[in-house]
């Protein structure tokens, strides 16, 4: 059965490569967590604004959960020069409330690496989002000291609201 990607990622190989890059970006940030801080101010988009790239071992020094997820996917799709398919704001802004307007809702059983997991809040504006990395784990950047690897349920911090797929 053929699959037409709304974003032009028509090859499974291409989508796989993007997922792999997004995971690598999240890992890069994880390795530099000591140099990262949490902010919900506009500076949380500085990672993208300053062209911080994981392949150069760079990471967003200041970010929040939604900007962190967005940075991972943005970094993974620079070769494709993809438009902002996460927040629809030209990679210049967003929060969970814009993220839920994009992507595709999926079931937990269908989770793939680099899918988004939303927690708490409401369906339209979840309180938190993390990047799924496989094996029932996510990398979350929701407070000072993050990013960290957490189990999918964030140790019960917040209920899971929904799962969404952007790389499709």
């Amino acid at each position: 059965m053929s699959y037409h990607s709304p974003l032009g990622f028509n090859s499974a190989h291409q989508r796989r490569a993007i997922r792999e890059k997004a995971y690598a970006a999240a890992l890069t940030a994880l390795q530099h967590k000591a140099h990262m801080s949490y902010s919900e101010g506009w500076d949380r988009w500085s990672g993208i604004a300053h062209d911080r790239r994981a392949y150069r071992h760079e990471f967003p020094e200041v970010t929040d959960c939604s900007a962190f997820y967005t940075w991972c996917v943005w970094d993974a799709t620079r070769a494709e020069k993809s438009p902002d398919f996460v927040n629809g704001l030209k990679w210049e802004g967003g929060y969970t409330g814009t993220m839920t307007k994009f992507g595709q809702r999926i079931e937990q059983k269908d989770l793939l690496t680099a899918d988004a997991v939303f927690y708490g809040g409401s369906l339209g504006i979840p309180a938190h989002v993390a990047i799924y990395i496989g094996g029932g784990k996510v990398i979350s950047h929701g407070m000072e000291g993050d990013p960290r690897v957490y189990p999918l349920n964030l140790n019960g911090a917040l209920p899971i609201t929904e799962f969404r797929r952007y790389i499709r």
Binding site: G8, E40, G93, G135
Partner: protein
């Protein structure tokens, strides 16, 4: 050696496979008949890598080459040890073994999910304090536009 075999980018010919398999078998036979020189060992490994390189060429996944080399070299060494110990004459079986390993790599590359091994990543037992996203609503209106491939045709490449 497979290095002398011309393989068009993006396609893997039967000739290419056969040549690489023969190169692997030839180098392996040289090893099994007593030539344990570093050069021969290198040839065995290089020919094995050549087989995988063909698979990579077929899949068009050049970015994976380094990773696959790392995957195959231990396999080649394992092949040498196993064949020498049990049945030095069955190079055809060795080739089949290597091809099966290549098939595994192909299968992994074809899967949409990279499925990284995350078992080594330490999981935090802390319960995070979360939830500032609702307050960010005031920064954004409802003016968001869903992007499409048509707006950025280069994404189709």
């Amino acid at each position: 050696m497979s290095a002398k075999t011309s393989v068009p980018i993006g396609t893997t010919s039967v000739v290419g496979w056969s040549a690489s398999a023969v190169a692997f078998g030839t180098a392996l036979v040289a090893y099994l008949t007593g030539d344990h020189s570093a050069q021969t060992v290198t040839s065995v490994e290089a020919a094995g890598v050549g087989l995988v390189m063909l698979a990579v060429t077929h899949l068009g996944r050049y970015a994976q080459v380094r990773k696959i080399e790392g995957t195959l070299l231990p396999v080649a060494k394992e092949v040498l040890g196993t064949v020498e110990k049990y049945d030095p004459g069955v190079t055809a079986q060795v080739e089949a073994f290597v091809k099966s390993e290549v098939a595994k790599v192909e299968e992994k590359l074809t899967s949409e999910d990279p499925a990284p091994d995350v078992s080594d990543l330490e999981v935090s037992s802390a319960t995070p304090t979360l939830g500032g996203q609702e307050a960010l609503k005031v920064q954004y209106g409802t003016a968001t536009k869903v992007p499409t491939a048509a707006a950025h045709p280069e994404a189709n490449s």
